[in-house]
């Protein structure tokens, strides 16, 4: 990988996040305004104090007008970005680079999605005119392909593996129950999830992320000015993105037990941040648990587990709040809900709360010796995805 990174050049000085809900009574603009207001309130800034904006939304709006009109911005540059379910992280990434380049002193990234107005289940892509030869399978079904492949490769009983991924949902529901912003705040037992009807492969509805409306926003400034705004900024240690070439769909070598884009993005981020043992060095990780098998595979691609060991580490509780490396302490996509354009920034919001020790007491992680957090955000499907990884820290190196 060839990336220089922008370690310790940029800092996040404020983040805000709306509750993720079926917001029947809030429009897209309401959600944007709520998230931005929450973010400004943290640092006593107003929209005119921000030099440039990025708005991430997968399909709730087009162009920078999606942000400039509801905020009534005057003469500001606003760019709308989209990168599948990694859209929110992409907006933040662009804002960070703009500040790191010296072009702007303050930049804001906003992510928003209003998905529940469609009246349909799940996420549904914008229809682009095609020849009709593209695959039409749901994302749930695509990710369900992981389980039989993983079970076969590592000799795990399929029934046992099904319970392993249900344990991931159980953990994320446990964490989400301790998060007032989360969509689903009820604990769910793995056994109850296993008893539910399958909707895609072995997966039940409760193996799928919640689909919610929501928005989140963050302000970034040059690292050396961060303390002018807050006592506890978070410094950007690494930003990486890999957009796959889709070869997994046509290459018989691909076996559906890894997401190469995620492994490559993590490798790049660890190099930028100087991390050699992520499981030992990271305080927490917020990862893209769109479906329960996704989180299992990510534990190995992000090197929190050895290859073929992730399932045992899940059963061992390694990723629980009090585990070796807590994962998705806010409930993840599973429980927090997944407004596509907002989710990436929401993940950074949880790192912000945890690393600043501002998370609600019942889910605040206890290890105070580590000060780095990781965000992993992907978009797409096994064999064809974009993958984002960032690493944040409380100390400027």
């Amino acid at each position: 990988m060839a990336s220089n990174g922008i370690k310790d050049k940029v800092a996040i000085i404020s983040i805000g996040c709306t509750p993720f809900r079926e917001h029947w009574d809030k429009s897209r603009d309401d959600l944007v305004i709520d998230a931005v207001k929450h973010t400004f309130d943290g640092v006593n800034l107003a929209s005119e104090d921000i030099d440039a904006y990025w708005i991430g939304t997968a399909q709730s709006g087009m162009s920078g007008l999606t942000l400039s009109m509801p905020l009534k911005l005057e003469g500001k540059p606003v760019t709308r970005v989209e990168n599948f379910c990694a859209t929110g992280s992409e907006a933040l990434r662009q804002a960070c680079y703009a500040v790191a380049s010296g072009a702007y002193d303050t930049a804001m990234a906003v992510g928003v999605e209003k998905v529940k107005d469609s009246g349909y289940q799940g996420l549904n892509a914008f229809p682009i005119p095609t020849a009709g030869t593209n695959r039409t399978l749901t994302a749930a079904a695509m990710y369900s392909l992981v389980l039989p492949a993983y079970a076969k490769k590592y000799g795990v009983d399929e029934g046992e593996l099904r319970m392993v991924v249900a344990k991931i949902a159980e953990k994320n529901h446990f964490n989400g129950a301790r998060n007032p912003l989360a969509q689903f705040r009820r604990e769910m037992s793995a056994e109850a999830i296993c008893d539910m009807a399958a909707v895609a492969g072995q997966l039940s509805v409760f193996d799928c992320a919640g689909v919610a409306d929501g928005a989140a926003a963050a302000i970034v400034v040059p690292a050396d000015k961060a303390y002018e705004y807050t006592d506890k900024p978070l410094f950007i240690k690494a930003l990486s993105l890999v957009s796959g070439n889709g070869s997994g769909l046509m290459d018989p070598e691909y076996d559906y037990t890894t997401f190469p884009e995620c492994a490559a993005a993590a490798q790049d981020a660890y190099l930028q941040a100087g991390i050699t043992n992520p499981r030992e060095e990271l305080a927490l990780a917020e990862v893209h648990d769109c479906f329960t098998p996704t989180e299992l595979i990510l534990m190995e691609d992000l090197k929190f587990s050895e290859r073929g060991q992730g399932w045992e580490d899940v059963l061992n509780g390694d990723f629980a709040l009090d585990g070796a490396i807590p994962v998705n302490t806010d409930g993840g996509l599973k429980s927090f809900g997944h407004p596509v354009g907002a989710s990436g920034i929401r993940m950074h919001y949880e790192c912000w709360l945890q690393l600043r020790r501002e998370a609600p007491a019942e889910r605040q992680i206890s290890d105070t010796s580590r000060n780095l957090g990781l965000v992993h955000n992907l978009g797409g499907y096994p064999g064809e995805m974009v993958s984002f990884v960032s690493i944040l820290g409380t100390e400027k190196g």
């Binding site: 229809p127 020849a131 030869t133 079904a141 399958a198 909707v199 070439n245």
Partner: protein, 442 residues
């Protein structure tokens, strides 16, 4: 089946098939048995149930079979008799022609049409000695016509109506002698020369009585118990079946009762269709479906679809650009690495290849096996759930693709599958044709 319960089983067009896709599959069987390559001058498609009016359905078949650009494509639509009319016109032509006759039978639940009908397609390659050894030689035939109202269906109506059967039988009985004698006369044959009489038509009583008149105890060739009466495709389906089981030199009479009588006499040749997909083998490898599913596929029972958006219509220009892939299942193979790309690509995923160094490669007749699979109960489908598999092809190439003609519980890793041309969905009246895979017949 509903009210009437005739004996035997019936062939049913799947939810993702229509008369064009069934015709493509029939033609693939016919063409696959040829040793050399033959380029027909035209493909002629006959059906009383065409997927499109105005637009030529034969063009889709032409594209799926990847026929030569200069091969013509025509529809012979409307009446059931259009099939036999096309056959006679082809036999009188000096050209090499691919004939496809296909039908989907309709009928209200519990009607006799529903109980008797079978969905089928047949494909015949009509040519001369120059094209190779013949499966059968056409000796000559006759027609006997008279206007009478027997069966009818207006455009836009799904189901046919019939006049009282006894009247209709009378009309056929009045015509048979003239038709039969004329056929014998033009071919200079006598009844004793005929070894097999094949009688096709929608009216079972008329068929039985005429078989007695012609001195046949029971027509030797009959697919009523295994397929049903296949409308436009019925006559050529029965003829094909007769030729699969006949001895060289046998004289076969094909008698078609359809708004008049057509008689065609053939002499079986030395050649046989070499494909393993004979009519008998297809009948023996059938899947059974419930009556509920049958009603659903026939459009007589609407069921609640998953709460997902129905697909949008496809783009005509995009479909035309991608026609080789979409209709022909033509992938690309990198010159240097040999990596097969499905869909075809100008740029290889293998970095040792250079841009635009790909050759087309047809995957339509290549078998593969299931690497992994899933069952999607959430996605929109005209017959949920969708069974979906990652398939690796013999000789290279992989695609995640829908698996059809299978129940969700019957799929397994390693299962052998072959490509099949299907209708994925219809939106704004445009049929979206593309390839799926189905289990290989054993």
């Amino acid at each position: 089946m509903g009210g009437t319960t005739p004996s035997g089983v019936r062939a049913v067009c799947s939810h993702d098939e229509d008369t064009a896709t069934m015709g493509v599959e029939a033609a693939r069987i016919t063409l696959s048995s040829l040793s050399g390559s033959i380029n027909p001058a035209a493909v002629w498609f006959s059906s009383s149930n065409p997927p499109y009016m105005d637009k030529t359905n034969a063009n889709v078949i032409h594209a799926a079979l990847q026929l030569d650009t200069n091969a013509a494509a025509y529809d012979f639509g409307g009446a059931e008799k259009s099939g036999i009319g096309a056959l006679k016109a082809a036999l009188d032509s000096s050209k090499t022609l691919l004939l496809i006759q296909s039908d989907i039978r309709t009928g209200l639940p519990s009607s006799e049409d529903e109980g008797h009908g079978g969905d089928a397609a047949s494909a015949l390659l009509i040519g001369g000695e120059d094209d190779g050894d013949l499966i059968a030689r056409y000796l000559g035939g006759s027609s006997a016509n008279e206007e009478f109202i027997g069966r009818w269906r207006n455009p836009h109506e799904p189901n046919s109506k019939s006049w009282e059967e006894r009247f209709v039988v009378t009309k056929y009985l009045q015509l048979i002698d003239s038709a039969w004698q004329e056929a014998l006369s033009v071919t200079e044959l006598s009844s004793r020369d005929i070894s097999t009489v094949v009688i096709s038509g929608s009216n079972n009583r008329a068929k039985n009585q005429i078989s007695k008149i012609l001195g046949v105890e029971k027509p030797r060739i009959d697919l009523f118990e295994d397929v049903g009466i296949a409308g436009t495709a019925d006559a050529t389906l029965l003829l094909t079946h007769a030729l699969e089981t006949s001895e060289s030199g046998e004289i076969i009479a094909l008698v078609v009762l359809s708004d008049g009588i057509e008689v065609l006499l053939f002499e079986a040749g030395n050649q046989k269709n070499q494909s393993k997909d004979t009519i008998s083998s297809q009948i023996n490898s059938r899947n059974e479906i419930t009556y509920q599913r049958f009603l659903q596929w026939k459009g007589n029972l609407d069921v609640q679809p998953p709460n997902r958006p129905a697909p949008s219509r496809i783009s005509a220009s995009a479909a035309a650009r991608e026609s080789e892939w979409k209709h022909g299942f033509i992938a690309s193979k990198a010159e240097k690495s040999g990596m097969i790309h499905m869909p075809p690509s100008r740029v290889s995923a293998n970095p040792e290849d250079r841009i635009d160094t790909m050759d087309p490669i047809s995957m339509a007749n290549t078998s593969g096996h299931v690497v992994t699979y899933t069952v999607d109960r959430l996605v929109y489908s005209e017959s949920p759930p969708v069974v979906f598999a990652v398939v690796d092809f013999v000789g290279g190439g992989r695609i995640p693709i829908e698996l059809t003609d299978i129940d969700a519980e019957d799929i397994s890793i390693g299962m052998e599958v072959i490509p099949t041309f299907r209708k994925v969905f219809t939106a704004d009246g445009i049929h979206n044709y593309f390839w799926k895979v189905r289990p290989a017949r054993q």
